[in-house]
Symmetry: C2
Subunit: 351 residues, 2 copies
């Protein structure tokens, strides 16, 4: 682990918060985003954690993202809410969206909030997890910048539009499922290209829409990534865009630029929808948690495949990583640390 | 097409209805189930259509399924409803569940109904499609009899737990996405075994939980089917069971017998949840449909892969098949027709 440096959660979070405050984000909101960002690393989802801090800060500095959150209610009817984020930072817009869905579920048993004109919000699973405090079920769906092809198409126009669920359990850990609809991320193809390795058929198509084993042709050379389950995942990508951008009148496909693209039009504009559901309206909160335990036990204690030690439940690896890293600190790649140090210097901060 | 016989929709539906009535199902309910069943064939989903009529009728005759629907409300709070189906036929229980979710959405903007102790309901997509009459978004999720393995496991204990969405559009066809979470169905492995063909790695594991290319080992020989997207699909299978059976206190995994297994314990007991969402609470119903059109157009008119004529939207093939078959009749396999004739004979009916 010579290329890794361990940093304590609180120290890393504090650095992030200071960075946000330094470019004009109010203290409370800076703390909220810093917490979400650092918890991503804490839970082992480094791809969506503090490694993105430099680009998030840059976008704030360039004025592509609001420094102060502005989230307004467009419509509100019973358990539903339609929020407009006006280009507020995605993490904050999503936090407020989930908060609204939870408040609705407290009153009505279910709550649904859709948020338009938001931005990149990091790790999807952190938002439905907010519902766990009430023993509610949480759900989020989002659209995203394009990286995949429509089934039968060849253009990189659809996002990997993630979804995430969180459900409370009793003596077992809560269940948290969080995934995007691509077979693999673009990062995997870039890595394969760097290593000079082929990729399996089924990961991507080239710019003509033909399956390719060449990682360069599959992404950087103009190709596009494949959805899980072929036409099944493709269909779900579309539904997720309909449940977010189409429902709120937001941006979709080509109109969403990635975090790393210049977009002087202003906001990134991804859209999200959030749902919270109270098990009390069904079998009851306590009975639900007990049932979750029984169900989880039946899966975990079923026969393991040869050479497998343990059957894991969604979210289990992340919770285990979190516990370990809270004690030992978060192992950060030297590259990322260097980038943070450089960012700190430009802001007058030390890590 | 010498092995196919074309039968008109109305004629086939009438036969199904008569068959149900003949074993004691009341006329209105018999008509409702016959319509759902025959529309499956009409839309090209033959695997879940009238080919199942003999087993459905057999189960009614054996008393494994109620002849008269009994669906009671366990709890009802605002937009949520918890229904108990007492072993009512799955098609009917699901119809009532979706109806309830839609009624709730009319009042509250969103509706969620969970139904416990139901049974096999056929084609999932037909239920959310009921929401289209109101220009609502419809959703259904169900658990099912076991056929897949948990990720890292080797036992055939989890279902392929389908989900389906239906969303209204304007000048385009409604979008209907309907899929189960297996890479392929067991039928594909049985067919490969009969043909003496290998199956691709990734379709199934053998009884030791190891990937196999042998279709027999992968299913009939004690193996289990693989979920789409590996651990992603596995996770979603679990969530779908939690949103249905765990939430309603119903049966799950090993406790659900397939339609073709004797289960003297009584009911099959699958559970379903239904959601309806009114776009009026967001961008508005008409604006939503216009937005759907714009979105669908952007996908359909994007660049096609080499040798592809048209990019399809979920549900499009089924609607096209429906239009064609309403005119030309439904092409039925000779085998299926023979089974229906035999069933008819035993009930004093002619096809």
């Amino acid at each position: 682990m010579s290329n890794f440096i361990r940093i304590k959660f609180e120290k890393l979070k504090d650095f992030c918060q200071q960075a946000y405050m330094n470019v004009g984000v109010p203290e409370g909101e800076a703390e909220m985003i810093a917490d979400l960002l650092t918890r991503s690393d804490l839970r082992g989802v480094e791809t969506h954690g503090v490694t993105r801090l430099p680009i998030y800060i840059q976008r704030l500095q360039k004025g592509y993202v609001r420094k102060e959150a502005k989230i307004t209610v467009v419509k509100e009817k019973g358990p539903t809410a339609f929020l407009e984020a006006h280009g507020t930072m995605g993490h904050l817009a999503a936090y407020r969206g989930m908060e609204k869905a939870i408040a609705k579920a407290e009153e009505f048993g279910i709550g649904w909030a859709s948020v338009g004109n938001s931005g990149h919000f990091g790790v999807a699973g952190l938002f439905p997890m907010m519902a766990l405090k009430k023993d509610f079920i949480g759900y989020v769906v989002s659209n995203s910048a394009p990286m995949m092809f429509p089934w039968g198409g060849r253009e990189r126009i659809i996002g990997n539009n993630p979804l995430a669920y969180a459900l409370p359990a009793g003596r077992y850990l809560p269940v948290v499922l969080d995934f995007s609809l691509g077979v693999v991320s673009s990062g995997k193809l870039i890595l394969s290209r760097k290593k000079g390795e082929k990729i399996p058929l089924g990961w991507a198509v080239d710019k003509n829409g033909l399956p390719t084993e060449d990682p360069y042709k599959g992404y950087e050379g103009g190709g596009a990534l494949a959805p899980i389950g072929g036409h099944k995942g493709y269909g779900l990508v579309l539904i997720h865009e309909m449940l977010t951008a189409v429902l709120t009148g937001g941006k979709w496909t080509r109109n969403i630029k990635s975090l790393y693209e210049e977009d002087k039009s202003g906001i990134q504009g991804t859209c999200h929808s959030f749902m919270a559901l109270d098990p009390e309206c069904f079998i009851g909160r306590e009975a639900f948690k007990q049932n979750m335990d029984r169900y989880i036990k039946s899966i975990k204690e079923s026969g393991k495949a040869k050479n497998v030690d343990e059957i894991l439940i969604p979210g289990e690896p992340e919770f285990k990583t979190e516990t370990k890293r809270l004690q030992e600190g978060i192992p950060m790649a030297q590259n990322t640390v260097n980038e943070l140090i450089a960012l700190g210097k430009s802001l007058g901060l030390t890590l």
